[in-house]
């Protein structure tokens, strides 16, 4: 690994200042489980002279819930804190679907959902799940803070709308309200520790036997995790049942623009989009109707 400097930022302002003064050559680091590898490989995928530790910044360690604000997940909160958090377990149980399958136990001790979003891998396991929970990212930069919907953060493979002088502070998941259920599932050839061939993150709101809101988001089928508006319109307003769910699954298959690579062919991935979306929606409906 080439020489890097290490800065330990204690406040958001300090981190932003270091990033601004680095000429685009500084990278924030939370768990480091992606960044350290990207800096170390023979042909480094990240051009950085400075690594800025952001784990000591209070806002980035926040994990709090209120009925008005919903769940606030600091960008550096590691996965294990998320799936062991009583508010998450009670109010956002589907978030655990992602937090508990990113890497293995050791990775989950360090890796954060914020880092997963900033890394912007097309296969990022938490991204479709955050999209399904209507997540909103708070970014801080030299001109203050701004909010961006999680589904708009990724702009390309490993590219985001986050400026080189900005850091992700937190992700907010609004209170999903009554009759909400979500699910994230992925297909991998192993049982764990693998990269999604396809991932599907979905959510539904059900009231009076009808879908009142829905989200369908897919990983590993396009340059970024994608949302599927046609799947949402196939559900919203319809009575809960197999028909609309199948239509939404078909829309997901239609929306996917996958490539063929060593993990699967484009045709296989499109097939998986239909299967995983259908299964995830069935689980989300079960959860919305009071099942675990």
């Amino acid at each position: 690994m080439k020489w890097i400097d290490y800065e330990n930022a204690k406040t958001v302002d300090e981190a932003v200042k270091i990033l601004s003064q680095s000429g685009g050559k500084a990278r924030p680091m939370a768990g480091g489980t992606d960044l350290i590898v990207q800096l170390r490989v023979k042909d480094p995928r990240v051009d950085a002279d400075v690594v800025v530790n952001v784990k000591d910044i209070p806002e980035l360690n926040e994990l709090s819930y209120s009925t008005t604000k919903g769940l606030t997940i600091g960008a550096a909160v590691p996965c294990h804190k998320i799936y062991n958090d009583s508010n998450v377990i009670t109010h956002y149980p589907a978030l655990i679907d992602s937090a508990s399958l990113i890497g293995g136990t050791q990775i989950q001790g360090r890796a954060s959902l914020g880092g997963n979003l900033c890394n912007a891998a097309p296969s990022g396991d938490s991204i479709p799940n955050l999209v399904a929970h209507n997540g909103v990212a708070t970014l801080a930069g030299p001109n203050g803070t701004r909010e961006v919907a999680v589904e708009d953060v990724c702009t390309g493979p490993r590219q985001t709308c986050i400026g080189k002088d900005e850091i992700l502070v937190s992700i907010n998941l609004p209170n999903p309200g009554e009759g909400f259920g979500a699910n994230y599932i992925r297909f991998i050839p192993r049982n764990e520790m693998d990269i999604a061939v396809v991932g599907a993150g979905v959510s539904v709101n059900i009231s009076g036997g009808k879908f009142t809101a829905a989200k369908v988001s897919l990983a590993s089928v396009a340059p970024t995790p994608i949302s599927v508006p046609n799947a949402i319109s196939a559900l919203v307003g319809e009575s809960v049942g197999d028909g609309p769910i199948q239509n939404a699954a078909n829309a997901a298959k239609e929306a996917a623009k996958p490539i063929s690579d060593m993990r699967g062919t484009a045709e296989y991935r499109k097939h998986l989009c239909e299967v995983l979306t259908r299964r995830a929606l069935n689980t989300a409906v079960e959860r919305a109707q009071g099942g675990k």
């Binding site: 400097d5 480091g32 350290i36 170390r40 136990t105």
Partner: protein, 159 residues
């Protein structure tokens, strides 16, 4: 060459001071700077778990931690698992159940299993296998390792 960083940390209950470059991993610092070579390097990218150590109560792959991040931390390595010449029940169980052949993965498996049994004294086979998914062994086929962890859990509950 820019200056090295002075790091003060606690390893296996003892305060340790060392100098490292910010780019050096905790694994490199443990092995090459401090001389604790019980922690092994495998893949060096977080997949194999051979370099697993316990840092502030959580197991981590030390190849994915920077040495400078050890400042103020509490680290446990394989060298701190036995109590003098008395092996830890996990170490005894690994030996007696032949849960190792070449042994490179063993320190990582011991650290991971120890953390599991500390929070879940009586795990199911399924829980053991998922907890240990970030530790790879190319010799044993895992069955003997799982049985050793079950055996150690039993010994620790009886103790």
């Amino acid at each position: 060459m820019p200056a090295k960083t002075h790091v003060t940390t606690t390893i296996n209950g003892e305060q340790v001071d060392f100098l490292c470059e910010p780019r050096q991993s905790l694994l490199e610092c443990l092995r090459d700077v401090i001389g604790l070579t019980g922690t092994k390097e495998g893949c060096n990218d977080g997949n194999c778990g051979a370099c697993t150590v316990n840092m502030d109560g959580r197991i981590v792959t030390s190849c994915l931690v920077l040495g400078v991040e050890a400042e103020g931390a509490n680290i446990e390595t394989i060298e701190g698992v036995a109590d003098g010449s008395n092996l830890h029940p996990l170490q005894l169980a690994f030996l007696e159940n032949a849960a190792l052949q070449c042994g490179i993965c063993t320190p990582g498996f011991i650290l991971s299993s120890k953390a599991l049994l500390e929070q879940n004294p009586n795990p199911t086979e399924h829980e053991i296998r998922f907890w240990l998914a970030n530790n790879l062994c190319r010799c044993t086929g895992y069955d003997k390792i799982v049985r050793a962890v079950q055996d150690a859990a039993k010994r620790m509950q009886e103790a």
